[in-house]
């Protein structure tokens, strides 16, 4: 197996607040390989965004604090780098796309200027004309119509979907080796979501970047990802390739997630959400963070006392963190049969 582009080991991030210390990320370890798309799935507050933002130094340092861990990008530990060195990586080798395109662009500067800036920050010697040409090329690549004219427009003259495309264009401007997309479609209408996803697929095909796709939408994960990590309460609870995870989930939380989706090919009477509330990251439940809401736990003491570690499951590369994971062997989710388009619902 080739070396991973990004290798995060035992990362822990916490925030100091008036109400106590928030353990946003608690001892997570994962790798990202070149060319693949890794999905990170979880509810709001599961720590999925914080884990990636912290390795780029984008979390405010007081009150935030990287309690422990290493993040090796192409062999270099990003967490040990100084501010100036980290800035060289940001936007060049590692790029990020954020969630809300409405507010992610500076309203008083033209879109073209801001894209140029992404390039010029790292390649200040390039001529203005070359940079402008490249920007227009990028805008066209992501499907912004009439790119040359749009170059001089302001963000408020772009629609939401177009803005997100511009953000994506901005992120790939310097051909990064790693692209992190933090809920890129959450703030958009459903139809626009589909378009933006298409753009992301195009971009993935055009570049060879590894992509981390952070989302809470399982549908997007199914569309775009090769491998999946499921996070809960700041910890990784399951990890594996996308087909396995969807067909044979081995953690009660993952099962709960899948179960809560309505199946379009059958009648169902009730929606089945996961009961309870997401855990407080200040006062996380002892032991397994999920046990208060877990159907498998049934009040067993071990769930309350011991934090489960990730254990290998049948399929290679598939791990789950549950004390009683063996009891789930044989469980097949409703996604284990392929859904054919056009089935009557």
């Amino acid at each position: 197996m080739p070396d991973p582009i990004l290798s995060i080991k035992n990362l822990a991030v916490e925030f100091k607040t008036d109400d106590g210390i928030v353990h946003a990320v608690d001892d997570i370890t994962y790798d990202v390989f070149a060319g693949e798309t890794l999905g990170i799935v979880g509810e709001s507050g599961s720590g999925k965004s914080v884990s990636t933002m912290s390795i780029l130094g984008l979390i405010p340092i007081p009150p935030g604090r990287i309690a422990s861990g290493e993040a090796f990008f192409k062999g270099q530990d990003l967490l040990k780098l100084g501010k100036k060195e980290l800035q060289r990586f940001r936007g060049d080798e590692v790029a990020m796309v954020f969630q809300d395109p409405m507010t992610s662009l500076n309203p008083v500067l033209t879109v073209g200027f801001q894209l140029d800036e992404a390039i010029k920050t790292h390649y200040p010697k390039e001529s203005d004309d070359k940079v402008k040409a490249r920007t227009i090329e990028l805008l066209a690549l992501v499907g912004v119509p009439n790119a040359a004219a749009r170059y001089d427009q302001y963000p408020h003259e772009f629609s939401g979907g177009m803005r997100q495309r511009a953000m994506i264009a901005m992120s790939i401007a310097n051909s990064p080796s790693l692209l992190i997309a933090d809920e890129p479609t959450t703030a958009l209408d459903v139809t626009i979501q589909a378009q933006v996803l298409e753009v992301m697929k195009t971009v993935q095909a055009a570049t060879d970047a590894a992509t981390i796709l952070i989302t809470h939408d399982l549908g997007i994960v199914a569309e775009l990802c090769d491998r999946v990590i499921v996070m809960y309460g700041g910890r990784i609870v399951e990890e594996g390739d996308v087909h396995t995870i969807f067909a044979k989930p081995r953690h009660p939380y993952t099962i709960g997630l899948m179960d809560s989706l309505p199946k379009l090919t059958e009648d169902e009477e009730w929606l089945r959400p996961i009961p309870g509330q997401p855990p407080s990251l200040i006062n996380r439940p002892p032991g397994c963070a999920f046990h208060p809401r877990c159907f498998l736990s049934q009040g067993r003491a071990r769930c309350r006392e011991e934090v489960p570690a990730l254990e290998a499951m049948e399929t290679p590369g598939h791990q789950a963190a549950c004390h009683f994971g063996e009891e789930l062997i044989g469980y097949r989710s409703k996604f284990s049969e392929p859904v054919t388009a056009g089935s009557d619902a």
Binding site: S44, G219, P273, P275, G276, C294, G299
Partner: protein, 326 residues
């Protein structure tokens, strides 16, 4: 922006529908296990407000300061060693001293300055509170009517407040006070109140305008609630936060402006003691620094305390103002 979309692939519901009872309860899930994990304390809105206020150290300090200062004003008769007009021609213009309890010295006809300042505080607090309460009340009523009914009433109010905004504030007040004030404390307070209400009115109007379209108002109407009831029970409580804040800060502004008016000779005139008049006394006696410093310092302290309390109230009550943390 985002509407709850019908999931294509599927969305993980964040709202917990414990009430949306699944037809088949997931095995093993008892109420006990669910309860154990729920560590979120439910707090009422007032609880939050009170906690936030108490945590605001400056606001607490301001509150204590105000209690001391305003208390001194209210109990002036007991605290002041002399009456504010008691003349002692043997002791004119003496600097502050502990002898004879002349803590702040005496003025040019021997009146004890400490007592005069204390009585001045009382006047200031009367003016401040009166102006704030009256102007807030007027602003509340007019703003509510304008915001709720909209149309030409609202238009009229807006044009009028615009008009007031384009006038030189201090100059108009001075003119009014000069021509109508006659040096009386209550007349001057009234004049101030009449011109202060526009700020509150605009804020209240804005809130009423935005809230009257809300669904719960429609629901109340459908249930047969009259206009007054809707205004009072449903919308008005939402204005209390910003209104209390602006009312508190109005106290400070009123005190400052009254002092300025009195200083210039157009506001409250002697014999009623006013901190502004006292400071004016210092103008003719530049060598007797205590005549200027003490009343002015008192004004500064009062205004500071009121501002701190107002800041704390704003933090506690007005959730729309996001305080920047780190």
């Amino acid at each position: 922006m985002t509407e709850p979309s019908v999931p294509i692939g599927g969305q993980i519901p964040v709202e917990q529908g414990a009430s949306a009872a699944p037809s088949v309860a997931p095995p093993g899930l008892t109420d006990a296990t669910v309860e154990a994990g729920l560590e979120i304390k439910v707090r009422s809105q007032w609880d939050y407000a009170r906690r936030r206020f108490l945590r605001h150290r400056l606001a607490m300090a301001g509150l204590i300061g105000l209690i001391i200062l305003f208390g001194a004003g209210i109990f002036a008769n007991y605290i002041a060693p002399y009456s504010f007009e008691q003349i002692d021609l043997n002791n004119i213009l003496s600097p502050p001293t502990f002898a004879h309890n002349h803590f702040f010295g005496t003025d040019e006809i021997g009146r004890d300055y400490f007592s005069r300042v204390i009585y001045g505080i009382r006047t200031s607090e009367e003016v401040g509170v009166f102006v704030a309460v009256l102007s807030t009340f007027i602003g509340l009523v007019l703003g509510a009517i304008a915001g709720f009914y909209g149309g030409w009433i609202d238009n009229l109010l807006m044009r009028f407040t615009d008009l007031v905004l384009t006038l030189p504030f201090l100059a108009i007040l001075l003119t009014a006070a000069a021509l109508l004030g006659e040096g009386s404390q209550w007349r001057v307070s009234f004049i101030l109140a009449v011109l202060f209400w526009t700020g509150t009115a605009r804020v209240v109007r804005g809130i009423f305008l935005s809230l009257r379209e809300k669904e719960y108002v429609e629901a109340a109407k459908a249930a047969g609630a009259g206009d007054m009831r809707i205004m009072f029970r449903h919308i008005l409580p939402n204005t209390l936060g910003p209104v209390v804040v602006s009312g508190t800060l109005a106290v400070a502004t009123a005190i400052l402006i009254e002092a300025a008016l009195s200083f210039l000779g157009f506001g409250i005139k002697p014999p009623t003691p006013s901190l502004g008049v006292l400071v004016a006394g210092g103008e003719t006696n530049p060598q007797q620094w205590w005549l200027t410093v003490f009343p002015g310092l008192t004004i500064v302290l009062i205004v500071l305390c009121v501002n701190f309390v107002g800041d704390g109230l704003r933090d506690a009550l007005d959730p729309t103002q996001r305080r920047v943390r780190a």
